[in-house]
Structures are given as structure tokens and as C-alpha cells.
């Protein structure tokens, strides 16, 4: 690790004012990704601003009938909170599909969104990577790209976002509340993460001088018909090859509202609203789900080692929607996919 100094933020405004003064500073909460990246010399902050003392650890009901989750709520506390397991089981399931119990105990809600890619070339500082070092090239394009993107990539970067929680938050249409030097703003989840384009070094639309204070969930939690299906190289404690957050609202046998978000396939959780709309008004069926999957994947393009993910994603979308429609969500402990 590089030399850095360490300060504690007293409150949200103090945190913002401290980060505004130091371009090479980083906030630290759980530290599960940042410390690892610092050990690899991928991240070299000159100052760490400890935000773990800020009062952002509550989960509160909103007037709109949803929940406001403080940015410092640990992932495990969020996953097991009774309001989450009852009204937003898709979110709970996605969190429990990711990382390990120890990491979930450490990791914060806000930090989970700000995880950086696990692309091998981003981590290996002896190889080119436009995300780590803009202009150096992309090692993954012609390298070992099994874990890389099939959607939304650019010639500059084919990395994927690693978070499972974010996939569920995309499907649930959460809102990210942030505070900066000019006050607060709310970012719709779909606008929070970015596609790589020509600036893959910028993961999100959160500015350097802004801090996430809360994630807000709308009232609709799709608690009856949902599934989070994660396909990976080992059964637990591995990043997704493909994951699917599926949520349906079914009334009188017909789909009224459908949400499908994919993880492990793009630089951000991947949603195609037009595909979801094709399901509205239809009865749940393998045919309908397959047609929606085809729309989601129509622009998918893989590389030497990951083209299999296109068909894998298609099947995972259909299966997750079938699980959601049947009210039999994927279990995150029994690994049998039914």
C-alpha cells in the first residue's frame, strides 16, 4: 500500500468538505474493495476519510410507502432486516447471493454500489487497462475474457459491474440519494452507473465531491413473484457469469408489470424496458419469457471466451421469470435450480 493519511469525518457536511479539498482522497466505510485495490496498487489515495461514524445506519419508512436505507447499513443487516425480507425479498436474495458472510458483515450499502470491476486486467497493474490507466488499452479484449461483458461494452472497456445487490436495486427502480457541496440530489438507479464509452475510468455519475447518504426503495417490492438467479463458476462465493433479477406483478392471471435486470453481463445492471413491456398483459409462459429474453439480448456480442454467456443469459432469464411466475424463487442456500 502507498503512504496515506487518515482522518475521520464528523458529519456529512464535514465529509463533503474534506473530500472537496483533496482530489486524491477516498471515503472509506467497509473497505472490502478499496483496501484490496490499495494492496494491489490499483488505488493509491493520499488520504482516507473514514465515514463510519456518520449517522447513516438506519432503515426508515418513507411517506411514499417505501424504505430509505442509510448508506452505512451493512449488507448483512440489510439482507436480514424483516422489512426487507417481507416486502423486498428480491433485494435480500440478491445480497445473500453475493460475497461471503464475513464480507457482507463489513460491506456498506453505499459502498456496494461503488465496487469496482473484478476484471483481471483492471487488477493486474502489469497489463494495459483503460479503466485503471486511461489510454493504455484494454487487456481483456484479446485476453482471458470469460468474466467480461456481452452488452453495452466499448472498444475501450469490456468490464462488468460485480454487484449482485445493484442488480436487484435496478429491477426495483431504487433511487440513490447523494449530498455534495451544492446540496443534495436524487439519482434514479438506472442513471447511477455508466456505460464505459470512451471514459471507462468513470464508473458512476457520482461526482468526486459527493457522498451517498441513502438508497430509497419505492413502495412496490414484488414480494410475491420474484427470483434472483445467479449462475457462476462455483456454487458460492464467486462473481456472476450471468445473474437475473426477475420481478412480476400478476393480476387475474395476466402480467401487469415486469422487471428484468441482468448482472455479470455489462458495465452496469442491464435493463431493457421495451422487453419488459412485451410481457405486460400476457399470461406467464415460456414462450412469452423467451421472446422477452430475445429482445433483451438482441444486441449481445461476446468475445473469444465468453460468447457462451449469450445463450446462458437467455436461459437464465427464462428460468428466473418462470421461478418468479410460479412463486418459487431461487434458494440461495439449496443450489438446485428448479
Amino acid at each position: 500500500m502507498n503512504d496515506f493519511d487518515y482522518v475521520k469525518a464528523r458529519d456529512v457536511n464535514d465529509a463533503v468538505s474534506q473530500i472537496t479539498k483533496h482530489l486524491a482522497a477516498r471515503f472509506i466505510a467497509g473497505g472490502t474493495n478499496l483496501i484490496d485495490l490499495m494492496k494491489e496498487n490499483v488505488e493509491r489515495p493520499t488520504r482516507l476519510i473514514d465515514i463510519t461514524g456518520l449517522p447513516l445506519k438506519e432503515i426508515e419508512e418513507t411517506q411514499a410507502g417505501g424504505l430509505r436505507i442509510g448508506a452505512l447499513v451493512p449488507n448483512s443487516d440489510l439482507a436480514y432486516d424483516e422489512r426487507i425480507t417481507t416486502h423486498y425479498p428480491l433485494l435480500s436474495s440478491a445480497i445473500l447471493a453475493g460475497a461471503s458472510a464475513q464480507l457482507r458483515n463489513m460491506a456498506s450499502t453505499g459502498g456496494n454500489l461503488l465496487q469496482r470491476t473484478r476484471c483481471l486486467y483492471f487488477y493486474d497493474i502489469t497489463t494495459p487497462c483503460n479503466k485503471r490507466e486511461p489510454g493504455s488499452g484494454c487487456g481483456a479484449l484479446d485476453g482471458f475474457n470469460r468474466l467480461n461483458a456481452i452488452l453495452g461494452w466499448s472498444k475501450s472497456c469490456i468490464a462488468v459491474h460485480p454487484s449482485d445487490m445493484s442488480v436487484a436495486l435496478a429491477a426495483l427502480e431504487a433511487t440513490v440519494h447523494v449530498v455534495g457541496p451544492r446540496g443534495g440530489r436524487a439519482i434514479p438507479f438506472a442513471d447511477f452507473h455508466r456505460l464505459p464509452g470512451d471514459t471507462p475510468e468513470i464508473d458512476t455519475n457520482l461526482a468526486h465531491d459527493e457522498i451517498i447518504t441513502a438508497i430509497e426503495l419505492p413502495a412496490e417490492g414484488f414480494s410475491r413473484n420474484y427470483s434472483y438467479l445467479k449462475i457462476r463458476d462455483r456454487l458460492s462465493y464467486a462473481f456472476a457469469l450471468v445473474s437475473v433479477a426477475a420481478a412480476l406483478r400478476i393480476e387475474a392471471g395476466a402480467i401487469k408489470d415486469a422487471r428484468v435486470a441482468l448482472g455479470g453481463v455489462a458495465h452496469k445492471p442491464w435493463r431493457v424496458p421495451e422487453a419488459e413491456q412485451t410481457l405486460e398483459g400476457r399470461q406467464p409462459s415460456r414462450t412469452a419469457f423467451g421472446e422477452a429474453a430475445d429482445v433483451i439480448l438482441q444486441d449481445a456480442m461476446g468475445f473469444a471466451h465468453n460468447s457462451f454467456k449469450i445463450e446462458l443469459a437467455r436461459r437464465a432469464i427464462v428460468r428466473a421469470l418462470e421461478q418468479a411466475a410460479a412463486g418459487t424463487p431461487q434458494s440461495q442456500s439449496s443450489k438446485k435450480i428448479v
Binding site: K39, S100, Q102, M106, S236, S333
Partner: protein, 173 residues
């Protein structure tokens, strides 16, 4: 251990960020240390407090060998900065036995032959203590899933599962 903060590795470190005083309550004893901000809790335990029961496996949060309990919750000490845990209660494998009597999980690991080389064992046992305290695992599948952050390259998983299950059922090993 009370008294003067312990400092080491002084030579040729001029110009670096100054050391900070950190108070850790380790296995019920207050320990005061002077540490650079980049010292991990794992290194603080092993290199500065000579508590080498906690193991450094991957040092990247992928193996679980460094698992300890902070305020009763299992975490990875390799991805934790010691300065951020000033004032915290830390329990390591050395702190599980009481009055010379092994913790039930320690006994169960011996009884069920739940290790071969033993390198992952302190992390496995601390993780299992956390698992049981959390109370979310009821079935064998759930124990396996919620212990998946602890890798055993000798492959003792069936016996680790048996040991954890035995303690969860309250059976005396």
C-alpha cells in the same frame, strides 16, 4: 496489557505519515499500539501483538483464514484497517477458550477430525462462532452456504460441517 504503547519498525521511516495511537480490546485485554494508518488488523494482531493464531492466507479477502470477531461479528481482518477499529472488542482464536477449557467448537473440530493441515482452522472456528451467533443457518445447506467464505484446501468440508452441526444441535462433542 496496560502501559506504554508499543512501537516497532522505527528506522528509515522518516517522512511517512505519523503513527496513530490505537486501543484494541483483544480477547478481553486492552492493548495500546502505535500504528501507521495502513496497518491491517491482521498485521496488528500477528506482527505487533504476537497473536499468530489468526492466519494470513490470501491477504485479499478471498480465503477466510484471517476471520476474527469484532464486537461479536465475524469479519476479515486482512481487509480491515486497525486504526478504524479503535476501541473495538476483538476476539481471536486465542480468546475462545475459557479457564483453560476449549470452546465447544474447538472440541468439536478435534472430535470430528475437521482439519488436516490446520492453517484455515482458526478462521473456520471464528467464522463458525459468528455463524451460530447470527442464527440464520438451520440446515446443512445453510451452514455450507454461510461458511462458504472459509476455504479449506485440504478439503475437510464434510467434517467441518459435522463439527458445526454438532455444536449447533447442542450435542457435546
Amino acid at each position: 496489557m496496560q502501559g506504554k504503547p508499543q512501537a516497532r519498525h522505527e528506522p528509515s521511516e522518516r517522512g511517512l505519515t505519523p503513527k496513530l495511537e490505537v486501543r484494541l480490546h483483544v480477547n478481553g485485554v486492552e492493548r495500546r499500539l502505535l500504528l501507521r494508518p495502513w496497518s491491517t488488523l491482521l498485521d496488528a494482531l500477528r506482527e505487533y501483538l504476537d497473536l499468530t493464531g489468526t492466519k494470513k492466507g490470501c491477504d485479499h479477502g478471498q480465503c477466510g483464514a484471517c476471520t476474527v470477531l469484532i464486537n461479536g461479528r465475524r469479519i476479515l481482518s486482512c481487509l480491515t484497517l486497525a486504526v478504524m477499529k479503535d476501541g473495538a472488542e476483538i476476539t481471536t482464536i486465542e480468546g475462545l477458550a475459557t479457564n483453560g477449557e476449549l470452546h465447544p467448537l474447538q472440541k468439536a473440530f478435534i472430535c470430528h477430525d475437521a482439519f488436516q493441515c490446520g492453517y484455515c482452522t482458526p478462521g473456520q472456528i471464528c467464522s463458525a462462532v459468528g455463524l451460530i451467533a447470527e442464527g440464520h443457518a438451520k440446515t446443512a445447506d445453510e451452514i455450507r452456504e454461510l461458511m462458504s467464505g472459509n476455504i479449506c484446501r485440504c478439503g475437510c468440508y464434510p467434517n467441518i460441517l459435522a463439527a458445526v452441526e454438532a455444536v449447533m444441535r447442542g450435542a457435546s462433542p
